[in-house]
Structures are given as structure tokens and as C-alpha cells.
């Protein structure tokens, strides 16, 4: 089975080991130690870590398409946000008549806009199973349609990057509109509870953190399973020499479409877990700059390694938290410099550094020098 194969790999075991160890340590430190203890992990920190883990899952999704398929998506934020909106709509419906206007069906912003009834696309989101299915299906469907159109016409490389960026930009503009029925500028917020658990209690927050950790583990194993399967090897072949793979008889566009859709769904899950933890979803998650930031997490961590994406996402976002707290003006300088330095001096990312130091022969799926030059000529 392709899903169990990664579990026998040493690198995956190591990754899962570290991840679960970290989950347990945080849980214990949060629950067992009293508030005054210097080692106590506050609920705020737990939520913050949960947010990082969401980003890490998102980065893994991006690494899957960029690292193993050679598609630099500058629009993955759109899938993340769509998953987030699906979750947000569920959470909105859960508020029920506890909103400011006390309408049992309509969310507050609709009452405010004088809407009389629920738009059709909000139906069903009061049921958890439906909403959770939409978390996967909405981004998946968008990726399917978009990818089908793009890959069928063999739009690749820089062009694809630019139109993915246009896609997320168009969606951002659309979601900013009040008429769309997604809360416009303010987005969806003021959530109360999820599956009956109050979102404002520490226990729920811890639960969400653990759920995110498990989602990351599953996402990692799924991606690992895909890239070590035969399909994964074909996808690496598409990345390195698309035309040659096609001439060998593989249906390149199908491979690309499959991997792209899976990646979009993972991004959607990340978004869905992100929303209850930060308590809001608004159109800024669609902004092109966020999508391009995800790419730099992956680039910093090391492309085509998966675990590198996790490291990159956590490191960059930790740095962002620190910087924006201490000197907010400097953050964009630091981020900009990071973009430049990583691409110019650290093309293999942190994972590349680790690999060089250990000089171990990994599975060798990282992009080699020859692969990047062949990509340029394609």
C-alpha cells in the first residue's frame, strides 16, 4: 500500500517522531504545569503553535507541487482561504441566534446588509459533515477546473505562476465584495463553538492544536506516499523533463492534475484548521503576497524535501511573530532580504545544508543542478 510505505522510511519515522514528541511536550507543559511556572505553555502560545502547524501543512502542500511537480503556484493561498471560508461558514451557522442581531438563520453581516434569506450556497453548512466535505471539495473543485484548463493547454513555468497569481487576485477582489455573501471586507468572525465545544476555552484550543498536528502528520504521510509511489516518480520526471516524459507515453497533464488537486485539498484542510484557531477569515488570505510568502517558506526550508517545508514555515513565521512584536517596520525588510538571500545563496534551503553536512545519501529526489537548468530551457 502506497500509504503505509512511507511509515517504513527512516526519514518519515524521524519526522513523525519529532512531531508527536513536540505535541506531547506542549500538551504536558500546558496542562501539568501551573501558570506561574517559567516552563508553562500558555493557551496563547498553544494557539500560536497551532497556527504555525497550519502554515506547515500549507507549506507541505506547496512543496508537493513545486518540489515534486515543478509547478510554482503563486495562488495556493486561494485554496487555503477557500478551505478556511468553508470552515468559517460552518462556524457562522453554529452561532445561531447568539449573534448581535439574534437572527436564528442569517449571520450578522447579512442582517446588517438587510438580506431576507440565506443565499443558496450557504445551505448545508449548518451540518458539520457537509462543511467538512466542502473543506476538501471547494478547493479541490477549483484546482480541478483551473488545472484541467491549464495543464490541458500545456501552460507551464512562469506563465502558470502568473496566472495562478491572477486567480488568487481575482478571488480576493471577488470576496471583498459585499454582494458575494461572504462578509465582504470583514470576512467571517465572532465564532462561538465547533462541534459543540466552546472555541474560547483553553481545552478546545489545545484540542485544535493536537488536531492540527495530527492533520500535519497525515498530510505529510500522504505526500510522502505520493512522491515515493510510481506516480510520484513520473511527477518528478514531469518536473525535470516534461516533453521527454510525454514522449515516453505518460499522460503528463493527468499526473499534474492529480497532484495539483491533492495539494489544493491539503491547503484547504490547513485553512480549515487555521480559521477556528485565529477566529477570523477575511479576503486578505487571498492576497497574492501571502501566496508568494508560502513559497519562500518552502524555499528557505528546502524544496522537494517536505520536511524542509515544515521547518521553513515554522522558522519564518516564528521570525515574523518576533519581528512584528519588536520592530514591525523591519519585518518587510527581513522578509525581502530572506527572499533574495535564499534564492541567491541557498538554493537548496536549510534541508540542503543539513544534507550536505551529513553527506548521507538520501532518497535523492531533491532537485539537482541539471534539473534546474533543464527547467529553465523548457
Amino acid at each position: 500500500m502506497w500509504l503505509t510505505r512511507p511509515l517504513q522510511e527512516r526519514s518519515t519515522q524521524l519526522f513523525l517522531g519529532i512531531l508527536f514528541f513536540a505535541l506531547i511536550v506542549v500538551t504536558v507543559l500546558h496542562l501539568a504545569l501551573p501558570e506561574g511556572n517559567p516552563l508553562h505553555v500558555s493557551a496563547y502560545t498553544v494557539t500560536l503553535l497551532g497556527k504555525y502547524l497550519c502554515y506547515a501543512l500549507l507549506a507541505v502542500a506547496v512543496d508537493l507541487v513545486w518540489g515534486y511537480l515543478g509547478i510554482l503556484s503563486l495562488g495556493h493561498g486561494a485554496f487555503f482561504a477557500l478551505g478556511g471560508y468553508a470552515m468559517g461558514m460552518y462556524l457562522m451557522r453554529q452561532i445561531g441566534d447568539r449573534g448581535t442581531y439574534g437572527d436564528p438563520i442569517l449571520p450578522d453581516f447579512m442582517v446588517f446588509l438587510n438580506w431576507q434569506e440565506l443565499p443558496w450556497y450557504w445551505y448545508g453548512f449548518d451540518m458539520a459533515w457537509f462543511a467538512f466535505a466542502m473543506v476538501l471539495l471547494a478547493p479541490g473543485a477549483l484546482a480541478l477546473v483551473f488545472g484541467w484548463l491549464a495543464f490541458r493547454s500545456r501552460v507551464t513555468g512562469v506563465y502558470l505562476s502568473i496566472i495562478t497569481q491572477a486567480l488568487t487576485f481575482a478571488l480576493m477582489l471577488a470576496f471583498f465584495r459585499n454582494e458575494m455573501g461572504f462578509g465582504g471586507n470583514n470576512g467571517l468572525t465572532d465564532f462561538r463553538d465547533i462541534l459543540g465545544f466552546n472555541l474560547r476555552t483553553d481545552a478546545t484550543r489545545l484540542g485544535l492544536f493536537i488536531a492540527t498536528g495530527i492533520a500535519l502528520a497525515i498530510g505529510y504521510v500522504v505526500c510522502r506516499g505520493i512522491v515515493t509511489s510510481k506516480l510520484g516518480r513520473v511527477s518528478v520526471a514531469c518536473r525535470d523533463a516534461e516533453a521527454r516524459t510525454r514522449f515516453l507515453g505518460y499522460r503528463v497533464e493527468r499526473v499534474q492534475l492529480f497532484v495539483f488537486v491533492v495539494s489544493a485539498m491539503l491547503a484547504g484542510v490547513a485553512g480549515a484548521l487555521y480559521v477556528p484557531q485565529v477566529g477570523i477569515i477575511n479576503p486578505s488570505e487571498f492576497s497574492p503576497i501571502f501566496s508568494i510568502e508560502i513559497v519562500v517558506w518552502v524555499a528557505l526550508g528546502g524544496r522537494a524535501t517536505l520536511y524542509g517545508a515544515v521547518i521553513g514555515a515554522i522558522l519564518v513565521n516564528y521570525a515574523k511573530t518576533v519581528f512584528t512584536g519588536v520592530m514591525p517596520d523591519a519585518w518587510l525588510f527581513a522578509l525581502g532580504a530572506l527572499f533574495v538571500l535564499v534564492t541567491v545563496f541557498l538554493p537548496q534551503g536549510i534541508a540542503g545544508l543539513l544534507r550536505k553536512r551529513r553527506k548521507s545519501t538520501d532518497d535523492g529526489s531533491g532537485p539537482s543542478e541539471s534539473s534546474s537548468t533543464s527547467e529553465a530551457t523548457a
Binding site: 497569481q165 527572499f339 541567491v344
Partner: protein, 534 residues
Amino acid sequence: MSIPRWLTFFLMVLLMTTAGTVSAQQQDQTPEALLEQLADASPRDTEAAIKAIATSGHERARAWLEAYGNNRISQVEATGRIVIVLNNRGRDWEVADALTGENLGEMSRRDLDRIAINNAVRRQLAGVLAMLDLFAKDVAVREAAALDLLGKVDDAIVEEVTARIEEEPDAGVRNRLEEALAIYQVEEQGSLDAIEVLSGSLHPRARAALNSAVASEDPARKAAAEQALASIQQKLRLNNAAETLYFGLSLGSVLVLAAIGLAITFGVMGVINMAHGELIMLGAYTTWGMQQLLPGQPGLALILSIPAGFLVAALAGIAIERSVIQFLKGRPLETLLATFGVSLILQQLVRTVISPLNRTVVTPEWMSGSLVINDALSLTLNRMYVIGFALLVFTALMLIMRRTRLGLEVRAVTQNRAMARSMGIKATRVDIMTFALGSGVAGLAGVALSQLTNVGPNLGQNYIIDSFMVVVFGGVGNLWGTLVAGLTLGTINQLLEPWAGAVLAKIIVLVFIILFIQKRPKGLFPQKGRAAEG
């Protein structure tokens, strides 16, 4: 001393037949007498007094009548002198002599006897004031006065207007007067001929008159008015279409300006420069800086900032090329990321050094205002300048690429780098020059944009995606494609805006391009032959 009404009319008609010259009858009435007449007139005679002043041809007639309309004509009780009140706040009023305009200083308001005006007279005064300028020598003043008369013709002045039409030498002014008269005739008399006259008018007032005629009970009038309105609507639609096209072209030329530099760096060099928008921003800030350096001379500063903006952006471009892009040759996706980093740094730099807030760039006088084509269509000048500027820049770039040594070398390096180098072309130097050229053009776009939008740190970000869309839509490596694509997208956007709204129009255009790229991945004008394979 009051003059019979018929006599005033007689005098006035006489005056109009001898417009420009001063007739003997008027010399009988000294300015003092005219003012006396106004001051002493009983409410019934005020009208005549006003007309006497209006037709006197006195240079200060307008000042008197306006002051009168504003309740600012008074008589000094002690001396009987007529004064104009300049400032009526407080106990002491500042006054000026009505005859000479000489400032007489302040005077207690108790010593002043205000010459009263009632509303009926004030209404009539408006018409008379509108008439005053019809006697001016300057055609433009007469035309403005005639335009002002639309809808203001009433029983009191209709005869004068009719007389004036006969006398008016200028056809444009005459048409206006006929329009004004026709509005009166339609509204007051329901004349069919007048409806016919109005069917050629685009002025909103004419439409109002026709609408009132449509409401009439006389079927012939109603039909004629409806027909006239229909013909006007037709013309309005045409004018609207022309205006939309104009806005579309101006938006399109902004897009062309923003994208054409990108077409060079992206299309010709294959370099994705995400910092292109920030180079545009630098150009805009250069304009602002120039205006700070030359306060009070916005026009000169704007002209100087054209070369300055080019230089600043070109130098910044060279710096980016040398420090980042040259190390990433042949790795377009990495170049994209690195230059995006540069764009973040530049944005934050501007925020830190200058201000996170928008700066205002002054529009020089010769660029503001608009070109009036007719009552329904006027074209703003600044947009016209931007359209011209975009075409100019485009032509210059075409000439550089086609006719100069640099252009030849650029094309050679683009098509076959190794071969070009073996022919003795210094490819690295060509890279730098090309990048400088593309960046400099971005700076020029910034100078132009500073006249249309706010100059702020996010200026570039707003244009980068649009610019890429234009280049991709037009076909990479093809300047003509960029021109056509930019103008097309701008026009489509403006055509969609009235029924879809600005945001939705933009979304539709983006979706359209995304779909278009699926159909024609190489854009409108794909490169063909050897160059495409390089």
C-alpha cells in the same frame, strides 16, 4: 423720475441694433442718474431702472447689478451718495463708491440706507445679468453668456434675445441664443418649430423643456417632443460611447506604459521582474521629489521629472540586475522570488524614509481642465496627455529596438545568446542595458501615473499583476502585442464597468485572460520562427 416702460424697451432695442457703439440717448443718462433712478424707484419702476443700467453699457454696470442682487447697494443718508457694501459684518460696514469703485473705508451701518430688492425683481435681475455679457467684444464671453441664458429667458428679456440673434455675428453664439429662445418658446408657448430646434441640442436644460412638452395634452406637440427626445437620446448614446472609448483608451495607455517596460525585461530577456511595480513607484516618487525641489513650478518639475524618473528607475534597475538577477540567470522561477523580495524591500524603504501615507503630486495648469466637444462630451486633458505620452514612449522604444545598435544587439542576444557572443557582442553589457531600459520605462510610467492616481508605497503593487496580464495577453517578446493588449484590456474594462461595477469588471477581465491563456498559451501575437525557439 421714472421713464415709462415702453420707452425703456424702445431704448433697449435701439441699443441692441447699435451694439458696441454708445447711442446718443444713453449719453443723456449719466451714471449718477442711472443709480439715482435705481435708488429712488418705486417697486413698480425698479424693472425699468435695472434695464436702464443694463443697456447703459457702463463698465461698472455688472458690479452694480450684482451688488444690488446681493443686497449690497446702499445710499449714504447724509450725502445721497450710492455705495457698494464690501463687508456687512459687524456694526461698521466697509463700503466702496459705486461710481468709481474707490474704497471709502468703514462706515456706520446706521448712516446707510439699503436699497431694497424683492424676489420678483431678483429673478428678473438674473436674466438681465445673463444678458449683460452678450454685448461683450470677446466671442468666448458672449458664448458663455449665451450658454448661461439657457432656461433663463423669460417674458422680460425675450424680445432682446430675439433681437440679439439677428445681430450676433458668430454662428456658435447664435446657435446658443436660438437654443435659449427655443427653450422659452417650448415651455411658454408650446411652439412646434422650437421643438424642432431643440432636437439638435444636447444640453440637459433642452431635454427638461422637451420633457415638459411631452407631458402636454396637444397630441402634435407631444409627438414632436417625443421624436426630438428620441433623436437626442440617440446622440447621447453616441457621445457616451465616445466617452467610454476615451476612458478605455486612457486606462489602456496607462496599462501599456506600465507593461511595456516589463515587455522588455520579461519578453526580451526572459527575466521575471516582480519589482517592476516598485520601479514605477520610484518614478512617481521622483515626480513628487522634483515638485518639492521646485516649489511653485509644478509644470517645469513635471517635465524635468521625465528624464529624472527614467534615470532613477534605470539606476535602480541596474542595481537590481547586478546584485540579484545576474546570479539567477536561466532560473526564471527563482528570479521571480528574488525580485519579489526586492520589491518588498523597496516598498518598505519608501514607507520608512518618506512616509507610509500617500503624497500628492500637483497637476500643472496646462494639464488640468478639459476639452469640451459638446454639451454631453468633454475630455479631460490630463488623460489626453497620458495617451499621447504612452504613444510617444512606445514609438521611442520601437525605434530603439528596430533602428539602433543597442536594439540590434538585444535582439541578437535574445535569439541566440551563444552565437551573438561569438559575433563579438558583449552579452553581459547588453543584459545590463536592456534591463536599464526596461526599468527606465517603468520610471516613465510612474511619472505619468503620478498625474492620475495617488502616489504611495502601494502604487506599484496595484499595477504589477495587470502589467503581467497585459504582457502575457499580448504575447511575450512582442512590443506591438503589448500595445494592442493594453489598449484592448483597458477598453474592455471600461466597457464592462457601467453594468458590472469596477471590481466585477476587473474580475471578469482577469478570468477572461486566464481562459484566454488556456486557448492561446503564447498570447495574441506569439513569436514565430527562430526567435521563438531560442
